[in-house]
């Protein structure tokens, strides 16, 4: 039970940190993922559609923005769960930066290898005009997520 509660607390805190980072980037004119597109992708999953040519051209799904935000936070919580499953609750009781950053960096594989191709951007954004920049941005965002995992665990540690 404690594992689930801590996964939610740490994951939500880390995802919030990532959202603050994305908001900061937007202030400098660097766009981030539109969560309505994530929600649209999830909305199409029950219809058996996993990969899209372009998610922007796919049929809209009712409540896609809310669904996208919920998915975004659910993914963050599941990655925190991965961290706690790997390093145990001992880590949550006395968090260290290394494992959190490592999980943050490694989980960049999820957007690069799963989400981006599924949304139609190709593996590591290779179908976009600036794949290297976009991949680097994903890596930076996930590094911030890793930092967020550490900070959230520190704040919520017993």
């Amino acid at each position: 039970m404690e594992l689930i509660v801590r996964s939610i607390l740490v994951g939500a805190g880390a995802t919030l940190t990532m959202d603050l980072w994305a908001a900061l980037l937007r202030r400098f004119g660097i766009p981030s993922l539109n969560f309505a597109m994530l929600g649209r992708w999830v909305g199409h999953l029950p219809r058996g559609r996993f990969v899209h040519e372009s998610i922007a051209r796919a049929a809209p799904v009712r409540g896609e923005l809310a669904l996208g935000w919920a998915t975004h936070y659910a993914i963050g919580v599941s990655f925190a769960g991965l961290l706690l499953a790997l390093y145990g609750l001992e880590w949550a009781h006395a968090p260290t930066l290394g494992p959190a950053l490592l999980v943050g960096v490694v989980t960049v594989a999820a957007p690069l290898l799963v989400l981006q191709p599924a949304l139609g951007a190709g593996v590591a954004s290779r179908k976009t005009p600036a794949p290297f920049f976009n991949s680097l941005k994903s890596l930076a965002t996930h590094t911030v997520f890793g930092l967020g995992l550490y900070l959230a665990a520190r704040v919520t540690a017993p």
Partner: protein, 223 residues
């Protein structure tokens, strides 16, 4: 840099990346052949040497010989060599992938050296590598060169995991201390992810590079 030197740059970089795993594999095989002292870390190899011997031999052949398959110069000057070496490489690549999966599943690997995450990733990588080679072979039998090239690059990138793992585990040890248990699992996974992403960049650049190569001789001819 001359055109000839540029042609060899890619294969030489891949051979260099292979060196540490190849040397380490050779040392492991040598130890098994000469009956070197069995330690808790090597007990599984001594008890069942066939999978590790097959894996080292096939992976060594695949990584070293495979590096030269990516040289456009070699392919165009010696197409027969490329085809014959390709047959050997396809077989050795599938053998390396399957023996890797066999070892991950059958050997009693101590938990600090392989947790559930690494076991799962090794299974996925092995299956993906074998599948990539099969897709590439089917593609070339249908004369679909671009598809063959793309899937061979993916298969080679997965097969080169050990080379990148050396590059990742070294700095990882410096930054994080002991790289055992989940930290090792994550770093090993990261190395394969880096290779997959790099492979996609290479595949994306390949058509442009081919166009440039095709234009280069014509452009350099005196008017």
């Amino acid at each position: 840099m001359t055109t000839s030197a540029r042609r060899w740059r890619g294969p030489l970089a891949l051979v260099t990346l292979s060196l540490v795993p190849v040397v380490a594999g050779g040392a492991r095989l040598g130890g098994l052949a000469t009956g070197a002292e069995v330690t808790p870390e090597t007990a599984r190899f001594a008890a069942s040497p066939l999978p590790i011997a097959l894996h080292i031999a096939s992976a060594t052949l695949y990584s070293l010989l495979g590096a030269f398959q990516f040289s456009a110069g070699l392919r165009s000057r010696w197409p027969v060599w490329h085809r014959r070496a390709g047959r050997v490489l396809a077989a050795s690549g599938v053998l390396a992938a399957l023996s890797g999966m066999w070892m991950a599943a059958a050997y009693e690997i101590p938990a600090p050296l392989q947790g559930s995450l690494l076991f799962g990733v090794r299974m996925c990588v092995g299956a993906a590598m074998a599948a990539s080679i099969v897709i590439a072979v089917v593609a070339i039998l249908r004369r679909d060169v671009a598809r063959h090239e793309a899937w061979m690059i993916r298969a080679y990138a997965l097969g080169q995991g050990a080379g990148t793992q050396v590059l990742v585990l070294g700095p990882g040890a410096l930054l994080l201390g002991d790289v055992l248990g989940p930290t090792r699992d994550l770093l090993m996974t990261l190395a394969w992810a880096i290779n997959v992403v790099f492979a996609e960049y290479v595949i994306r650049r390949a058509p442009a590079a081919r166009r440039e190569a095709a234009l280069a001789p014509a452009a350099s001819q005196p008017g």
